[in-house]
Structures are given as C-alpha cells and as structure tokens.
Homo-oligomer: 174 residues x 2
C-alpha cells in the first residue's frame, strides 16, 4: 500500500515556532493555545496577523521545527509494511525547499529521496493520504486520514487521527 | 486532461551545460555530439566520467540552462486546453531545488506554484506524461510520450515525440 504523509502539523510543528517568533517580536504569550477551528493569525492583533507569512518565507524557518511526537518511530513502522511517501505543499514557499529537505534528512534519514515530493496540488497516486488540510483531499480517490490540528477540530466529514499511535492502529497489519 | 512535463532534456538543456563545463576543465570539444544511446559520461575519458555528478551538485548548475526550442510557446498553448504540471525528479540533488524553481519562474512564469512538483518517483496522477527517461513510465497507467534525447534514441517501445511541435500535434484539440 502507498501512503502519502504531509509534513507541517503532521511530522513537523510550525505552530510552536510561530508562537515563539510572535513572542519575540510582539510579546504574544508563549503558552498561547489555539481555539478549535482557529489558525495562529486569528490569535494575534489585526495589525500583525499577516506577519506569519513573513516568518514562513524566511530562510531557516522550516529547518529547526520540533518533530511531532511519535512520528519518527511510527513512520519507521509504517515503512516496514508499506511504501511511504512524504508529500509537502512546499512549492509556495521557495525558501522552504532546502530547509524542508535538510530537516527530513536529519530526522527521517531512512526516507529515500525517491520517496519525497514537494508540490503544490497533491496529485499523487497513493492509497492513503495523512494530512491536516482537507483541501488536499478534494480530488483524492483513496482513503484520507485527517490528522488533528487546532484549525481542523470542527471538521467532521473525514476519518480522523489524533496522534501517531492512532495512525499505526489503523494502518499496521498485525 | 492532466499533463505532466519533465524538465531536464524536455524543457531545459543540461547537456550543453555539461559540454561547456567539460570543455572549460578538460578541453572536451564544444561541438561534441552524443551518439545514439549514449550519455554525456560515455563521451569523456574514464578518469573524469563521474565529473558530471560534481557539476550537477553545484549550486547554480540548473539556474542558467538553455530553454529547449519551442517549449515556452508550446506549454502556453497546452495550458489553454489542459491542466499542465511540471514534474521533475529534482529531489536527488538538494542544491538543484531553488535553481530549478527560479529557472521555471523566469522562463515559465505562467506556471503556478500549484502546478510544480519536485519528486523522486513520479507517482503523479495524470493522463499524459512527457519525459525523456523511460524509468518514469514503469508504473505509469496513462499515455507516456518519450521526448527524444540522444540517450533514448535506441528505444522503440514507446510513443515518441522529437520536438515540441510534435507534442502540440498530438495533444492540442483543433
């Protein structure tokens, strides 16, 4: 079985990085929790709510993101039974490309370059897609798994996974 | 219809760049013609035939490649009738990523970031794939069009296009 796995908010955690940068520049509290259905820019004053776009375009933003809990071990286990592809909509952010590849090579060195895809539209031919953004499921004919993130908590139309253990429970054959 | 178009030797011409660099460093003739079925490294002395791998990994290699004749106008015309994706197996060469995207934005600015894919395996869900490497056709279920390049001249198993006018003759609806 072929499985496509998204990066941001699935393998890597940009939200904590955003909060750190907003804290550094504007004093936004470091313990900020995002309300269900909200993006980071819903939680900061209006005059700086586009600032996340500047942050994300800076070289280095994606290079040192925290790894989502349990993802490294889970992807290793999935890889033993399935063909795993990392599929990230990185192409919108030119300066993210090298950072994202370097980050993958550091934290997921067991993923071959053959199995990494940076794209815009996710027109990949796979059986399962694990993603936190439902826009990537629109034309997808396989089985979508919505990986829980604050911004998608109000969505009820898709099979959901809250963490990597739940992914393994659904996709590993015992 | 969705059409995937390869970059190297289809939109961009790395062969002339290789010959220029081999000429600069080792005096290989600038008017070198590749024999049918041969790669550039078949035409240089054995002790330097891996040098192309160094060239290709240098920053800047892919930034100023010549554009393959007729490709810009042809892709524009295809785009009027079809959904065109640029699909390049760039992931093997970390230093090519920014160069390739910058090159596309310079010569094909009418291609959205949504329609650009840098990958390893070309597991894209499209109807037509235009490529000079038959390894990319192996698991492809659509219509492959083999774009002529010296290295593939001896291959007879695929529908072939020798230039961009032939692509238009096959894919444009009149």
């Amino acid at each position: 079985m072929k499985i496509a796995i998204d990066m941001d908010e699935v393998l890597a955690d940009p939200i904590h990085k955003f909060i750190e940068l907003y804290n550094r520049d504007y004093g936004i509290p470091l313990d900020l929790k995002l309300d269900a259905g909200n993006e980071i820019y819903h939680h900061v004053p209006e005059q700086i709510n586009n600032k996340w776009f500047d942050y994300i375009n800076e070289k280095g933003f994606f290079r040192n993101l925290p790894v989502i809990e349990g993802s490294v071990e889970a992807v290793k286990k999935l890889q033993e039974q399935h063909e795993v592809y990392i599929v990230s909509a990185a192409m919108e952010f030119r300066n993210s490309l090298e950072d994202k590849l370097d980050w993958l090579n550091e934290h997921f060195p067991f993923i071959s370059w053959r199995n990494i895809i940076f794209c815009g539209d996710k027109i990949v031919n796979v059986d399962v897609m694990i993603d936190d953004r439902i826009k990537n499921f629109i034309d997808f004919k396989g089985r979508p798994l919505l990986f829980t993130s604050p911004h998608n908590l109000l969505i009820t139309d898709y099979e959901r996974v809250d963490n990597w253990q739940q992914v393994l429970d659904k996709l590993l054959v015992h």
